[in-house]
Amino acid sequence: MAVLSTASPPAAPPRRKRHRPRERWTPYLLLAPAGLLLTIFLIYPIGSVVYYSLYKYNVTKPWDNGFVGLENYRTMLSDDLFWQSLLFTGQWVVVEVSLQLVFGLALALVINETFVGRAISRALVFSPWAVSGVLTTTIWLLIYNPTTGFGRYLADAGIGEYGTSLLTEPGSAFWAAVLAELWRGVPFFAILILADLQSISGDLYEAAEVDGAGRFRRFWSITLPHLRAAIILSTLLRAVWEFNNVDLLYTLTGGGPGNATMTLPLYVARKAVDAKEFGYGSALTMAAFVILAVCSITYLWLARAGKEAQ
């Protein structure tokens, strides 16, 4: 015993090995490829957006390009479509995220129960999560189109009229797009919330039951508080995603009819891809970025304030 203890003290705890001096540069070397790629293709481009936004820059009209100062921003403030698209973006994000959350939460609660056929139903209801925006458009366009869609079969059965499409009226186009996006958005919440549900200890529920808490009471006092952090995180991630993602609206409505479903990033994409208006597009992009950052920080701050108030 004595021999052993005199032999062991000099051996430093192995943990120390992590700080061997010749390894001081290892983490930086390991991060170098990522850092290099991110600097060239993400950070530098963000900087150059600021720069472009001060220029008139259209690749199809090179003779007209040049420094214009804040001109693009002034144009933006008096651009009705900018304000309209901003308003619509807010509406789109709030409606989508809240509906997806409600249905996703309900779905996660159902699918967390033990029942026959759970594994297969899980795989099936999660599957639209992996479907792209363009493919979602393809699928739902077949459903909404007057010649291929449900409308025709309903009209055959004497309900509604032939030749109507939900996508041609501004009001119904909005809800048609909401439904299609909901179809592939709900699984995201269901997956994240289910993951968190599974980390709740069964003992908590048993204890609550001993205390005579009913089903609803258990949900309200155990499940929801436990899910709080996951809900805050997933709604924020999804709101950012819904704000930024333009694939579905670009292909399903193209922002129409009459710009009724134009989000701000979609407006940017149309300016960049279709019109090649890089200067003005960059100014719009800057606005989108700043608005998104301010909203996200406010949301996180409110969520934290809400927690402290409890």
């Binding site: 983490p27 991060l31 960059s282």
Partner: protein, 279 residues
């Protein structure tokens, strides 16, 4: 499993109808759209039957040969495979650094990477177009690989760091005592346990690369470079759409992601609840 055996757990079970009714309704909402596209893809043109019978494969040959989906498919596969390799290898290195080292600037790097998640994809269109034009990568598959990988890297690194942190460091330390270096120790002890994490991260990268639309629409302009989503979007924009061919194109687009998804969805929930996100 244990929960099912305890007496009170049985009472805690929801009544059967409270599970099957909402679940059945939701399954209908999920599956009917899938059925609709399969119906049009396999049904003869001009038929209005609600079952695709007699089956036909003519739409697939139209879309694969006539509309060029054979080429689009090849392009999409090349882009997805290269993106997955690039993302996974770089995320392994970066994730390992963040999980296993303490170094100056680590906190700042983590915050910076989280911030990149807020950058709109549409914001990158203009500057990346310019970069790729000056480097002559425009209208090549590489432009999409790089743009996709970069956009997906921060989240992959953060997730990978979470997965690596969940593997006890003692295993690696034991291998160092046995004379392994960092790299060999990592390969022998961490890599085998990291398989679910690597599978999850590379599948995310595959799905998002396979589905990417905006970058491909902006950076690729000749038809022999198009990817499947771009090909689909052009079909959608045609004045008189051949719905059978469109549906067949959609089925071609969905098969690879469904296969990958069927494989990873088991890891999805487990991986996330193991702390992949919160770690």
């Amino acid at each position: 499993m244990k929960r099912r055996l305890t007496g009170s757990a049985a009472a805690r079970q929801a009544p059967r109808w409270a599970i099957y009714v909402p679940l059945g309704a939701y399954l209908l909402f999920t599956l009917v759209p899938f059925y609709w596209i399969l119906l049009f893809a396999f049904r003869k043109s001009g038929s209005t039957a609600l079952v695709p019978w007699p089956l036909t494969l003519e739409h697939f040959s139209t879309v694969w040969n006539g509309a060029g989906f054979g080429v689009f498919f090849k392009n999409s596969v090349i882009i997805a495979v290269l993106t997955v390799l690039l993302t996974t290898v770089i995320a392994l290195a970066g994730g390992y650094a963040l999980a296993r080292f303490r170094f100056r600037g680590k906190g700042a790097i983590m915050i910076l990477m989280l911030c990149t998640q807020f950058v709109p994809g549409a914001m990158m269109l203009i500057p990346l177009f310019d970069i790729f034009r000056t480097t002559h990568l425009i209208n090549t598959l590489w432009s999409i690989v790089v743009a996709d990988a970069v956009f997906h890297l921060p989240l992959s690194i953060i997730l990978m760091a979470g997965f690596i942190r969940n593997i006890p460091i003692e295993l690696e330390e034991a291998s160092w005592v046995d004379g392994c270096g960092r790299f060999r120790g990592f390969r022998m002890t961490v890599m085998p346990l990291l398989r679910p994490g690597v599978v999850a991260i590379s599948s995310f990268a595959f799905i998002s690369s396979w589905n990417n639309f905006l970058f491909a629409l902006m950076f690729l302009n000749s038809q022999d470079q198009f990817t499947i989503p771009v090909g689909l979007s052009y079909m959608l924009g045609e004045y008189s759409v051949d719905f059978g061919a469109l549906a067949a194109g959609g089925v071609v687009a969905v098969v690879p992601v469904v296969l990958v998804f069927a494989y990873v969805q088991r890891f999805l929930v487990q991986g996330l609840s193991a702390g992949g996100v919160k770690g």
